[in-house]
């Protein structure tokens, strides 16, 4: 009997653990390749630091981590329930 269309959707091949494991390995390989490509390129730095090995990789990663941390910290102070303004509107 052919599988029910709903079953196919619920157990989609893309969300199976095996696929996700494969995606992680594939992704990490590509990451490594982009950094290794630096070995074959002559750097043309504008400022010095941007000529260091794998600069764009570590700089991108670290600044992204910093931005997530910064957002998290700001969220501690400024986050409110998403009904915040509705509640204050209701008091009109």
């Amino acid at each position: 009997m052919p599988p029910n269309k709903n079953d196919v959707m619920d157990d989609h091949w893309l969300v199976r653990p095996a696929t996700i494991r494969l995606l992680w390995w594939g992704g990490l390989t590509i990451l490594a390749l982009t950094v290794l490509a630096d070995l074959f390129l002559t750097p043309h730095p504008h400022f010095g630091i941007d000529g260091s090995f794998g600069f764009y990789a570590w700089f991108g990663f670290l600044t992204c981590a910093a931005m997530v941390a910064g957002a998290k910290a700001l969220g501690l102070v400024l986050s409110r329930k998403d009904t915040y303004y509705q509640e204050s509107d209701d008091n009109d």
Binding site: G27, D38, F47, G60, D82
Partner: protein, 561 residues
């Protein structure tokens, strides 16, 4: 004859014909208007201008140069794509307003004098307010009122600046200025307010996501990008714009990271992207200005594409929060693919339109040896992938299985998404087509091996950071307070307290006044009321009697004297 017709007017007048014709004819007119407008724009030669004497001034509704043509072209293209997407929109008022909005944006882009700029600027404010308001919900009504207040306020600042400037210089010509006095400062502030610059950035993510599924697509294109245009023409190389732009870049990223509403994420990223353009305008070299202009062009396309993808999800699921969405790739593969192409373009992936435009701004910073600016821009480029490039597709189409199985949106919406997706990739693969219509000659090759490898490193490691830090980015049912808190919350509270305090004093004063007034009224009533001595009606007989008496007195006096 045709040369004397400002192209934007085609959309503005055409819009008002829409409600008058039959429903079956509307799609044809909606799609024909931008096509006619585009042909008018491209039939006018560079250097063509139209002058009209008005009072003591000469107005210039058309002044065609490369910069004007670039923006008029992208606005018209957007009117076409947006109309195609909105063909099934039942609220005709939104379509009328959206076309007037697009037409007036083209009006600003082609205006050669400050008065014409201001007139179209204000028409845009009103038309865009109607676009938000026509979503028809209570939230959209409130948001549209907050939106119009901010923009009318900005309009007053701009008008004060223009009047002051014209008074000082005697000229209404719209040319490059330097912020060297209060008149120019006011103009600059008026322009920046529409760009979503600090401190008034909050109007944008507050209002745009409250519009209908198609309304937000129109809104994303015109207001902020006309602001970029007027800044490009009016204040190139104004150094403060570098700082304003960098602030906007990071404001957009941080707030988008905290956001849960999918379309609000994308509107925060409008502020972020406009920040790149404004930084470029602040740097002010030909490379930077070309970069800002090119980025405005590509941005309008991919941001509209992203919002079309989000609008399709909203229309088909009636859900807008990341916490409610997820796993939609199963049944909306085309919407997902188009959304991902838009996301790759906004992130400036090689072979997409963002790659060939944004890198010009960063290159300009490097050429000028602005080390810190360059570092911030590079970090922000990574941040764009983080907050929009992965976050939007991930939380909407993947993330978890929300159990939602919506079908793809109607055919016209799918076609318009594919149209813009093709443009995103086409411009990325053939950048010469865009470079050829930029304001300055382009001496820049985006596709060097080094540049492609660097960009891939930056973006892919930003992606790695996203997935490693995913637990920190779990979506919550929250919003993030912004400057608008002061007028949405604190202002209301203060107004209430003032009303209470002064209300009592006013009541007391009124009571006293009532007493005084009552006395006056009684007095007037006694003499002039129906029974008052001065208001009584008299008989003709007694009138004659009184005349006789007066004549008698007159006679006696005459004899005596």
């Amino acid at each position: 004859m045709i040369d004397a017709l400002p192209p934007g007017m085609v959309l503005i007048f055409g819009a008002f014909i829409l409600p008058l014709i039959s429903r079956a004819m509307r799609p044809a007119l909606l799609l024909a208007l931008p096509v006619v407008t585009m042909s008018l724009i491209w039939n006018q030669d560079i250097g063509h201008s139209l002058n009209i004497a008005f009072l003591d001034y000469t107005l210039t509704p058309i002044k065609m140069d490369a910069l004007s043509r670039l923006f008029a072209t992208i606005f018209t293209l957007m009117a076409f794509a947006g109309s195609l997407y909105a063909l099934k929109q039942k609220r005709i008022v939104e379509l009328v307003a959206a076309n007037v909005y697009a037409g007036s944006a083209i009006g600003v882009a082609l205006a050669g004098d400050l008065i014409t700029v201001f007139v179209f600027w204000e028409i845009m404010a009103v038309a865009s307010t109607v676009v938000i308001w026509s979503a028809g919900t209570d939230a959209s009504y409130r948001a549209s009122m907050r939106y119009v207040l901010v923009h009318l306020f900005g309009g007053v600042i701009l008008m004060s600046g223009i009047i002051w400037h014209v008074g000082e210089t005697g000229s209404v010509d719209f040319q490059a200025m330097v912020a060297d006095g209060p008149a120019r400062w006011l103009i600059l502030i008026g322009f920046l307010l529409n760009a979503g610059a600090p401190p008034f950035s909050a109007w944008l993510p507050d209002a745009y996501p409250e519009a209908s599924f198609s309304g937000t697509v129109f809104l994303s294109a015109f207001t902020t990008k006309t602001a970029v245009y007027v800044l490009l023409r009016g204040f190139p190389g104004e150094e403060i714009l570098i700082f304003v732009g960098l602030y906007m870049v990071f404001y957009g990223i941080i707030y988008a990271l905290l956001e849960n509403d999918m379309r609000r994420i994308l509107t925060y990223s409008i502020v972020n992207q406009v920040g790149f353009m404004i930084t470029g305008i602040g740097i002010g070299t030909e490379m930077a200005l070309n970069g800002a202009a090119a980025h405005a062009f590509t941005h309008i396309i991919y941001k509209a594409l992203l919002l079309m993808s989000a609008g399709s999800v909203l229309l088909m699921t009636e859900k807008r929060k990341c916490t409610d969405l997820g796993g939609l790739f199963r049944t909306m593969p085309l919407t997902m693919t188009c959304g991902i192409i838009g996301a790759l373009a906004i992130s400036a992936f090689p072979l997409t339109s963002g790659f060939i435009s944004k890198s010009m701004v960063a290159q300009a910073a490097a050429d000028e040896h602005l080390k810190m600016v360059w570092m911030f821009l590079t970090a922000a480029s990574a941040g764009v992938f983080l907050h929009a490039g992965i976050k939007f597709p991930w939380f909407v189409f993947f993330q978890k299985d929300s159990g939602l199985r919506p079908p793809e949106p109607p055919l016209n919406m799918r076609i318009s998404m594919v149209f813009l997706a093709v443009l995103c990739i086409g411009l990325g693969v053939w950048p010469e087509t865009l470079y050829a219509i930029l304001p300055y000659p382009v001496d820049y090759a985006p596709y060097t091996t080094g540049h492609v490898v660097k960009m891939l490193q930056l973006l892919l490691f930003s992606g790695l950071a996203f997935f490693l830090l995913l637990p920190l980015m779990k979506r919550t049912l929250t919003i993030t307070l912004d400057i608008d808190w002061f007028y949405r919350h604190a202002g209301v509270r203060i107004a209430r307290i003032l009303a209470r305090v002064f209300g009592r004093a006013i009541e007391r004063a009124e009571a006293k006044m009532d007493l005084g007034l009552a006395t006056v009224i009684r007095l007037v009533f006694r003499h002039h009321g129906p029974e008052g001595a001065l208001a009584r009606t008299s008989l003709v007989g007694s009138m004659v009697q009184w005349v006789v008496v007066l004549l008698g007195v007159y006679l006696v006096l005459f004899l005596l004297v």
